[in-house]
């Protein structure tokens, strides 16, 4: 028997998702809404309008977060927070993040339509800059309200040289008012996030949705290797200090390191790389590249990191290069709350589903929320496991099921009466 969604309005949900995808649309299916950009602002205003029509109390805070609140009967009680983000990768898809915000609004719109007043307040947040691709550091909005921004974060630059501070101001934020936007974490009962899987597991298991058990924390570093420029035609090979040859060897090595333990879910990626001076007949003087290393087993990740640092050191010495490593982000794995997972199991069973339980390789806003409250996540199957790409796709049927389970979980936690 095929599971069907009942409480929520699947057609409206899909329309809302497709409408949001018009903002920053690229190609026929893609989305580009870089954090704090004009497209991001347009999307935030679009979703805010939607929140207003459901009767939520809305505000855009000075981190760029969009927040909508539905009052509860016990309106001073800690709130249930749900949400995700609506910024995207530069060449991204329309489901990553957006599903968690539009899905949360569908849940509240359904509750609103059904004339239910929740026991406790429910807050929907579209967090600013989850992706981190513009300023090479993500989870900005959620870290903002949790007072976890780091020294110098506002001075990070995007590829055009614009600082985060400038970008925020252009977005309409006032960085001098961050303090008044901090959230009182004693007033949060739990955080729930609905998200596409962005990987191939659910598809391989032929299951529409999954219950997340935890998030593999990422280690993000930026490596710069420096040698000596020279004319590509005249410097003999033996005399070269070619930063790109060195970097290439490091990239190959990192790729091997992540595959050393057979069957382990370790992943390593060099996603961004710049060559200086980047001219075809000049030996590269400097190469900067990012490293992304993740594992659900933090001690294994630590070992790989140590091996990587040793290999980098050896390769640099071999090629006469100097190097620096800058650590951008270091998170350990964070596990979901067992009680919330149990609610999801029970409600899934009522829907006729037995969702697989799986770790998340990608991190999410939940990762930061996990430090201040219990959290739970629901995954929706991704076609071919593709994400961060215009080819990203989840079917309206799967999305409806994931949102239905979110609705049921929200009701169990916030609308028991």
């Amino acid at each position: 028997m095929k599971a069907l969604s009942k409480a929520i309005n699947a057609v409206r949900l899909n329309n809302n998702l497709q409408n949001l995808a018009q903002i920053g649309k690229i190609g026929s299916t893609g989305v580009s809404r870089l954090a704090h950009s004009p497209e991001d602002k347009q999307a935030v205003l679009h979703v805010k309008k939607h929140m207003d029509t459901i009767g939520l109390q809305t505000k855009i805070d000075h981190f760029g977060n969009l927040i909508g609140r539905m009052d509860g009967v016990a309106n001073d009680a800690p709130a249930l927070v749900i949400g995700s983000h609506i910024d995207s990768q530069p060449y991204g898809g329309k489901y990553d993040g957006a599903l968690g915000v539009i899905g949360a609004l569908e849940v509240l719109e359904s509750i609103h339509e059904q004339g239910i007043t929740p026991d406790i307040p429910i807050i929907v947040i579209a967090f600013a800059d989850e992706e981190g691709s513009r300023f090479n550091k993500g989870l900005f909005g959620v870290r903002g309200i949790l007072d976890k921004l780091e020294e110098g974060e506002l001075e990070r630059q995007d590829k055009t040289g614009m600082t985060r501070r400038q970008a925020l101001i252009e977005f309409g934020c006032d960085p001098s008012k961050f303090e008044e936007c901090l959230i009182d974490t004693s007033k949060i009962v739990a955080f729930l996030e609905l998200h596409i899987e962005q990987g191939p597991v659910l598809e391989a298991k032929e299951e529409p949705i999954g219950i997340v058990t935890g998030i593999s924390g990422p280690l993000w570093m930026t490596v710069e290797m420096e040698g000596l420029a020279g004319h590509a035609g005249s410097v003999p090979m033996a005399m070269r200090q070619d930063a790109l040859v060195g970097a290439a060897k490091v990239i190959v090595k990192l790729n091997e390191l992540a595959q050393e333990v057979n069957g382990a879910p370790t992943v390593s990626t060099v996603g961004s790389l710049q060559v200086f001076p980047d001219s075809r007949n000049i030996i590269p003087e400097k190469v900067t590249f990012t490293v992304d290393l993740r594992d659900i087993d933090e001690s294994r990740r630590d070992k790989i990191e140590q091996a990587f640092r040793q290999d980098l050191d050896n390769i640099a010495a071999e090629h006469g290069l100097t190097y620096t490593i800058h650590e951008d982000t270091r998170n350990g794995p964070r596990f979901c709350n067992e009680n919330i997972m149990q609610i999801m199991r029970e409600e899934s069973a009522e829907m006729g589903l037995t969702p697989p339980e799986l770790m998340s390789g990608p991190f999410h806003d939940s990762l930061e929320m996990s430090y201040v409250c219990d959290y739970g996540m629901i995954f929706v199957r991704s076609k071919d496991g593709i994400s961060h790409n215009p080819k990203e796709y989840s079917s309206p049927e799967d999305i409806a099921l994931g949102t239905e389970l979110l609705y049921k979980t929200v009701c169990r936690i916030a609308c028991q009466k």
Copy 2:
């Protein structure tokens, strides 16, 4: 006994070189004058003014070449052409190219001062876009006047998306008038070029100048490798089609191939590389990089090229990548004229010098001129062999000696009476 320059004015020569280096100056010693850029235009107008003060007939043609002519007694006779270029690498030095133009003007200014009228006309050319870094294809101006531009060349784009055509028009050129700027090659008796060595040979031999025996022709290719993007956190290593890992392996391999024959002067370089979408948590979908392969032995270069293509094919298959190879430039080695070299040997001996004779790894405007007339080149020692970098340096003494030899060679060919 230390050799001294006598006929030319070494102080004026050095001043002229340093003055030109103020245009597009970067840092304390570097120069950035990209082809057809406002800095390039400013430099061309600056040198044109110099030509005018020596009494040359000057013009800037529609390829962007600056041409100055000194009439000869037999003014219809084929002319001696001398010169080089004044465009630079994006992060270049002040001697590469500039020496050949400023040195040639010093020769003509000395001839002019000494009241000599040459037997035949002497033409100085500052060729446009020798470097090729802006549009990834060099020797533009010299190929222009020789009617050797290729289909679609004007549509090549720089990193900002500007086409060569647009850049030429902004420079003040009219691409519809190329035809009237072609040179009559039957009216050229020979081409001479003075240039810095850009390599470490003369310094190792402790010699200020050298006589060039020929130029190793470059093979320039652009390779694009394409895989599949995906989230850096969720796609298992075994399922990835990471274009950057593939490209890194190809870069390492190419570096090894150029070193396979012990002691051979083969050089290979990947100088420019771009990653798409270039985001730290996305598996690279596409990587584009340049290949520069040079050898004085063309058949050895052919063998390395074949091995490279095979390795590229294997690595692409291993990583599930597709690829394309675009051939941008393919030149064989071109040897200097023995008679001109003999004149240089004799005149050097008179100066008390015995210059080493050496091949040029870098190509020069001479490479293209070699197809239409005899040519000769003089090299000036480069400190630490460094070029295409602000650290590029040749001493005023060495420069004066090279220019003196150019003066003597010009006089032997064009002012015999």
